[in-house]
């Protein structure tokens, strides 16, 4: 990122006033810069930098029910969190979730984009239908999923449909063996976010030059898989990387649907729900909570960097 473009405050036509305006201009520019940027920066210092520094400090203290603790415990909170079975299993829960949600979102969003992009009639209608769930919150979707679709009793839609085939009612959200709860948890996020990623893919598809397809046709590439594999997919590289990274970061921060669908239960508890529980639940253990949040932040940053590296190297090798 380059520094802001050097814009002279003085237009060339300002003529004789130029000298005096310029001298005043430099001090004036600094003033105007802070008038424009200052309020934002002050807010950022208070609500982004201060919390993180404060949290770093708290993570070295024993801080039950207090944000101004006095008992320094060194790395104790970190050691506790890294050996805390519940915290580690929440990272495991996240990993299972990511293994389902990331590839499924990628493939299905791309498929929807390709389908919508090739229809010639009512395209805006189809695009809107798939995009519309973005208007719903995770709370709304969780509510529909929990009370209407995956309700464990007979009036739930899923159990009603399965009942037509003679299958017994399934308690979707509380059955641990087999872990049926993954089906509502994964499908609710798919319904909510596929449209968003589909829009990104459609924008990517429309940036592909038609001449590439014409060239491929002239060279005898078969329409369908070959064209998709050798033209469309490589051309979507930037979009694909963006979709994967955004999606993985979002999955790490999953909270809403887990909290509303299954609650704070030990079998399906992602890191944020666990951290919420220990730092804002009945105990309010802000020391361990801060340490856990920082560990999670470091993991997310490392994974993002790693992902950039992997895709960056691939690009250089092309």
């Amino acid at each position: 990122m380059s520094a802001p473009a050097k814009t002279s405050a003085v237009p060339a036509t300002a003529g004789e006033r130029r000298g005096s305006r310029r001298r005043k201009g430099i001090a004036g520019n600094a003033l105007w810069f802070w008038i424009f940027v200052g309020p934002f920066v002050i807010g950022l210092l208070i609500f982004s930098y201060l919390p993180i520094i404060w949290s770093l400090v708290l993570s070295f203290f024993e801080a039950y029910n207090t944000a101004t603790p006095s008992k320094f415990v060194g790395l104790h909170n970190y050691v506790d969190m890294l050996t805390d079975h519940n915290f580690l299993s929440s990272l495991g829960t996240f990993t299972i979730f990511a293994v389902f949600i990331v590839p499924l979102t990628f493939v299905l969003a791309l498929a929807l984009a390709l389908l919508v992009n090739q229809v010639k009639i009512a395209r805006a209608f189809f695009r809107s239908v798939f995009f519309l769930p973005t208007a719903c919150s995770y709370v709304v979707a969780s509510l529909i999923w929990k009370l209407s679709i995956f309700n464990g009793v007979r009036f739930g839609l899923a159990n009603t449909v399965l009942g037509w085939f003679g299958i017994e009612n399934i308690a979707w959200l509380s059955t641990v063996d087999p872990p049926w709860y993954w089906i509502p948890l994964v499908t609710v996020r798919l319904w909510l976010q596929l449209g968003f990623y589909m829009i990104l893919f459609i924008a990517g598809l429309q940036r592909i030059s038609p001449t590439l397809y014409e060239a491929a046709y002239v060279d005898g590439a078969k329409p369908g898989w070959q064209v998709f594999r050798y033209i469309t997919l490589p051309q979507l590289r930037a979009t694909s990387v963006a979709v994967l990274i955004l999606n993985l970061i979002a999955a790490y921060q999953a909270f809403d649907e887990f909290y509303n669908l299954v609650g704070n239960v030990n079998y399906a508890r992602p890191p944020l729900v666990y951290l919420y529980g220990i730092s804002l639940g009945s105990i309010q253990d802000l020391g361990h909570g801060s340490a856990g949040a920082l560990i999670l932040a470091v993991i997310i940053m490392l994974v993002t960097l790693l992902q950039n590296r992997i895709f960056g190297f691939g690009k250089a090798g092309d």
């Binding site: 990122m1 802001p4 473009a5 814009t7 405050a9 036509t13 520019n29 105007w32 810069f33 424009f36 940027v37 920066v41 807010g43 950022l44 609500f47 982004s48 919390p51 949290s55 929807l112 389908l115 919508v116 090739q118 010639k120 395209r123 809107s128 239908v129 798939f130 519309l132 769930p133 973005t134 719903c136 919150s137 709370v139 509510l143 529909i144 999923w145 009370l147 209407s148 009793v153 009036f155 839609l157 829009i199 924008a203 429309q206 940036r207 030059s209 038609p210 397809y213 329409p223 369908g224 064209v227 998709f228 963006a242 921060q253 919420y276 730092s279 804002l280 949040a293 932040a297 940053m301």
Partner: protein, 294 residues
């Protein structure tokens, strides 16, 4: 507009022959499309069906496609239910979404313009300090932010819900990128006429950037309206619940009737469905602009 009605990018370019396989593929693709449409619309149908049903209709063991009669009184039942502060929650959500969006756009656009256009020695350092905050994943900061907000005494208040969310490094970044590409000639013409930075920004730059503002406003509004974790952390008292927190409380506590809860859902998504109906163009632009960072 990013998503236009062109047909470029289709896997079947010019001269696609309608062979038997081509036809089978076409039929299969249409079937896939319709199945997807039905699956995506089922939850919306369920909202309407349950919102207008009686409790007996919803919990009847035999599934019916439509309720036996439309129970419009569910609306008044919802707003008259004294155990559910629905009206208050709607009001809180509206204030949070409107003020939050306006404040965030104002602060971020001014910061972005200053960074893009006002020459200042330390501008790049300020810019890096803003971009650095993008590295930190938003949701993990809720514990530290809660600590700061509770020290300010803002828990369970609209201030606490709104003010900490106003300073989006990402929005400032997007505005800076956008203003770097804004035609300088327009600004210079106004400068010749004697306008300062303030005048140029408000009279020339903002009025000529309304589609960009609308795109970011649409997606910020939806994000604010639907936001859950921060309002849950801050809304410790039912008077400061947003609609999302109110609904969530009643799913987890199960103290509300299903038909009432679904009416609450229908009411809660109404403002956003209206935005989708009238501002979808801007929304899609907002998604494409904010989804792809560089």
């Amino acid at each position: 507009m990013a998503v236009s009605e062109r047909t470029t990018g289709t896997p079947q370019p010019i001269g696609f022959s309608r062979s038997t396989w081509g036809r089978v593929g076409l039929v299969l693709r249409w079937i896939a499309l319709f199945v997807a449409v039905v699956l995506f619309l089922i939850p919306f149908y369920l909202i309407l069906r349950n919102a207008l049903s009686t409790e007996q209709d919803i919990t009847a063991p035999d599934w019916t496609l439509f309720p036996s009669h439309l129970q419009w009184s569910n609306i008044s039942e919802l707003f008259n239910d004294t155990t559910v502060p629905m009206a208050r929650a709607m009001y809180n959500s509206a204030v949070v979404a409107i003020l939050g969006t306006a404040g965030q756009l104002l602060l971020a656009s001014m910061a972005g313009y200053g960074l893009a256009r006002i020459p200042y020695r330390h501008a790049d350092k300020v810019f890096y300090a803003i971009v650095a905050t993008l590295m930190i994943p938003g949701a993990v900061t809720f514990i530290p932010s809660f600590i700061v907000v509770s020290s300010l005494g803002w828990v369970s208040s609209l201030r606490g819900l709104i003010i900490p969310t106003l300073f989006s490094g990402f929005a400032a970044f997007l505005f800076r990128q956008y203003f770097l590409g804004f035609p300088k000639e327009l600004e210079e013409a106004a400068r010749v006429d004697g306008a300062g930075y303030f005048g140029v920004f408000w009279r020339i730059v903002v009025p000529n950037s309304l589609p960009f503002f609308a795109a970011l406003a649409a997606i910020t509004f939806i994000g604010n309206w639907n936001s859950f974790l921060w309002p849950l952390v801050i809304g410790q008292d039912s008077s400061s619940w947003t609609i999302q927190v109110a609904m969530s409380t009643f799913i987890t506590a199960q103290t509300i009737n299903i038909h009432e809860l679904f009416m609450a859902v229908a009411v809660s998504i109404l403002p956003l469905v209206l935005i989708f109906a009238f501002l979808q163009r801007y929304l899609i632009q907002g998604v494409t602009q904010s989804g792809i960072k560089d």
